[in-house]
């Protein structure tokens, strides 16, 4: 135990005195949070839409006000209010045109079915998808506002329902997943570098002849990184809450529990890499390729796994981040409990076990 303390203490000193490690621990999480939170935003705001109002009633004008009143839609500068919808799409900056057929007001009062038209420029599919989602949200809200509260069946049908992230904010979606990426980076990347450094400078040779077991060396080395990884995780969560207003619905304890399992899996990858390479440079490159890329691409953080080719879908199953992204989103956004997350949790646990076993087996106490 005492020996572990000395090993961990030494490791902390290395981190504090190595600008590179320090940058990875401190700067990277902050940078990535803002990058993913702001720059890589799938949010679409101020979409120009034109309107063709054939109904021309107070109700229809009110609906138009609802559209333009929201943050999502705005009026094109040159604003043709009637005419051929397609001509509006082609001639102006409008990405979509709302078409209100006559009879809208009457349908609203009679609570009969009515269908509004929306012509969308499909050349930008992100915008197109956003227009569909936002407009149906606005229409259904409008319909509910118009009706007395006791009436149960609104006259205008709602086709899209958005749950958990009602504003479809991509930062709500990205930032929790970012915790997964940052934990993986800190744990795997730094661990692999630190062991490779001992080999490169020859200090491993001395360490291996000292009365410490390989297990003590490994635990002493990774303990500081578990602490740092968790601190970074908390840092990102604080950013998430304060800057991006990402809700945290579920249990902190549950997240911590799964976080530890995930970090252990990541550390095992780091140790495994460092056992296979000899220099810090190679360790860093290998760790980036083995952790960052799969964690970003194959975890469902950005791209949905079910839309991937079968080979990549299969590969995603051995990416720890895939399970943790699902878990952390579940806990933060949906308040999911242990039962809901059991399957993902068990998969993560199994993956951790296998990775640890391989890492322990491959850790070399010989130097040739």
């Amino acid at each position: 135990m005492l020996k572990l303390r000395f090993l961990a203490h030494k490791e902390f000193r290395h981190i504090l005195r190595d600008p590179r490690s320090l940058a990875i621990v401190v700067v990277m999480p902050i940078m990535m949070t803002f990058l993913y939170g702001y720059a890589i935003s799938l949010d679409v705001e101020n979409i120009m839409i034109g309107v063709v109002d054939y109904d021309n009633t107070p109700e229809s004008r009110q609906l138009i006000d609802h559209f333009y009143g929201s943050a999502y839609f705005s009026k094109p500068d040159a604003s043709p209010v009637d005419g051929d919808p397609e001509r509006i799409l082609l001639s102006s900056e409008a990405k979509a045109v709302l078409i209100i057929r006559s009879g809208f007001a009457r349908a609203l009062h009679e609570r009969s079915d009515f269908s509004l038209g929306m012509m969308v420029d499909g050349s930008d599919n992100t915008v197109a998808a956003a227009v569909q989602n936002y407009s149906s949200a606005i229409v259904s809200k409008f319909a509910l506002d118009q009706l007395p509260v006791d009436i149960e069946i609104p006259g205008i049908t709602i086709s899209t329902q958005v749950l958990y992230n009602p504003d479809l904010k991509s930062s709500h979606f990205f930032v929790p997943g970012l915790v997964a990426i940052i934990l993986m980076m800190i744990s795997a990347l730094l661990t692999s570098i630190t062991i490779a450094r001992e080999k490169e400078t020859g200090t491993m040779e001395q360490l291996l002849t000292a009365p410490v077991t390989p297990v003590q060396i490994i635990i002493g080395k990774i303990a500081p990184y578990i602490g740092l990884a968790l601190l970074d995780g908390i840092l990102v969560l604080v950013f998430a809450k304060i800057i991006f207003k990402v809700p945290f619905v579920g249990s902190y304890m549950l997240l911590l529990l799964f976080g530890l399992v995930y970090v252990s899996a990541a550390l095992s990858i780091g140790i495994l890499i460092s056992s296979l390479v000899k220099t810090q440079q190679v360790a860093m490159m290998s760790a980036l390729v083995a952790t960052l890329l799969p964690s970003v691409m194959l975890s469902g953080l950005i791209f949905a796994i079910r839309n991937m080719p079968p080979v990549l879908q299969g590969l995603a199953h051995i990416v720890p981040a895939k399970y943790f992204v699902t878990i952390i989103r579940g806990i933060m956004l949906k308040g999911a409990g242990l039962q809901t997350l059991a399957l993902n949790g068990l998969a993560l646990l199994a993956l951790m076990g296998v990775l640890m076993a391989i890492a322990a087996k491959k850790f070399n106490t010989r130097i040739d």
């Binding site: 001395q206 000292a210 130097i367 040739d368």
Partner: protein, 303 residues
């Protein structure tokens, strides 16, 4: 029984036989030197003793324990100083000492007295807060030795501890080793320097993974066969070539002059005519006693 024993050790790296059927034994309290040029196999032998390499065949034992299988039990009595500086360059002198104290279980009052003692002989106290990377070569080696001595090991294994260190620091370093020997520490040290061999109790010549000879520094030159002369002339390439043309003669540059080896049963008068014909004055040839280096070179060339 010997404290350290190595029995027919062999180790190959791909096609290269780094150590070839190597055996030796070191007694308690001895300073044993492994001497040889770079690539002779010294480091491989030492690393095998320190449990860092698995040999292809043969056994290395320390205190009756197998270095491969029982190394954990050997660790507490062994101090090892690798060839490359292997302390943490970003930690200070004190921090390195504290760390090694910590992992060897030397803490608290024990640690404080030990560090005071180590500072006394290493003279490193004024540099206690300096980072290891900012130390001179000699100081680095003294710090590495201090770390290896933290836990008062019974056996000290040093791999070329004085390579690249200035002559004064080398001498100081050896004074420390002799002091440790007085305290009963057994020392195995590898070196490329013959003057260091002279200070050891026994030495072993290592070349191409093989043991050429073994003995006390006083006895080893006796293995030299033939006779040796010092030729007081400028050791130019031409002169050396001319001398080597003479039958039964081998000439080598030696400091400012030339050492001339005569094969066994050959005397200077036997080759005097040939030497004169080659333009040398036999009067300039002075018979000298072969030293360790002459002996080593002869053995090396015969092998």
């Amino acid at each position: 029984m010997s404290l350290v024993s190595v029995e027919s050790l062999s180790k190959s790296y791909r096609e290269i036989r780094a150590v070839d059927d190597f055996s030796f034994a070191v007694d308690q309290g001895e300073i044993y030197a492994l001497v040889g040029p770079d690539g002779a196999g010294k480091t491989t032998i030492i690393r095998t003793l320190c449990g860092l390499i698995n040999p292809d065949s043969g056994v290395a034992m320390i205190d009756g324990l197998d270095c491969q299988r029982k190394f954990e039990s050997i660790k507490p009595i062994l101090g090892y100083m690798p060839q490359v500086f292997s302390l943490y360059p970003d930690l200070t002198v004190t921090e390195n000492l504290t760390f090694y104290g910590g992992i060897y279980g030397v803490v608290g009052e024990d640690y404080r007295t030990r560090v005071e003692y180590l500072y006394r002989f290493s003279n490193l106290k004024p540099f206690a807060d300096r980072r290891a990377q900012a130390l001179s070569g000699g100081m680095k080696q003294k710090l590495a030795l201090s770390c290896a001595l933290m836990h008062q090991p019974r056996i000290l294994i040093l791999d070329e501890p004085t390579t690249g260190v200035d002559p004064l620091s080398r001498r100081q370093f050896w004074e420390i080793l002799l002091e440790l020997k007085k305290q009963g520490v057994t020392i195995i040290v590898s070196t490329p320097y013959m003057d260091e061999v002279a200070r050891s109790d026994r030495a072993c010549f290592v070349f191409k993974g093989k043991k050429l000879a073994e003995g006390t520094p006083a006895a080893l030159p006796g293995l030299f066969e033939g006779s040796l002369y010092f030729c007081d002339c400028r050791p130019t390439v031409q002169t050396l070539e001319a001398l080597n043309q003479v039958s039964n003669v081998q000439a080598r540059r030696f400091g400012g002059g030339i050492h001339v080896y005569l094969r066994k049963d050959v005397t200077l008068p036997d080759i005097a005519t040939e030497l004169t014909r080659a333009g040398f004055d036999t009067g300039g040839f002075r018979p000298i006693r072969p030293d360790l280096e002459d002996c080593f070179i002869q053995l090396m060339e015969e092998s």
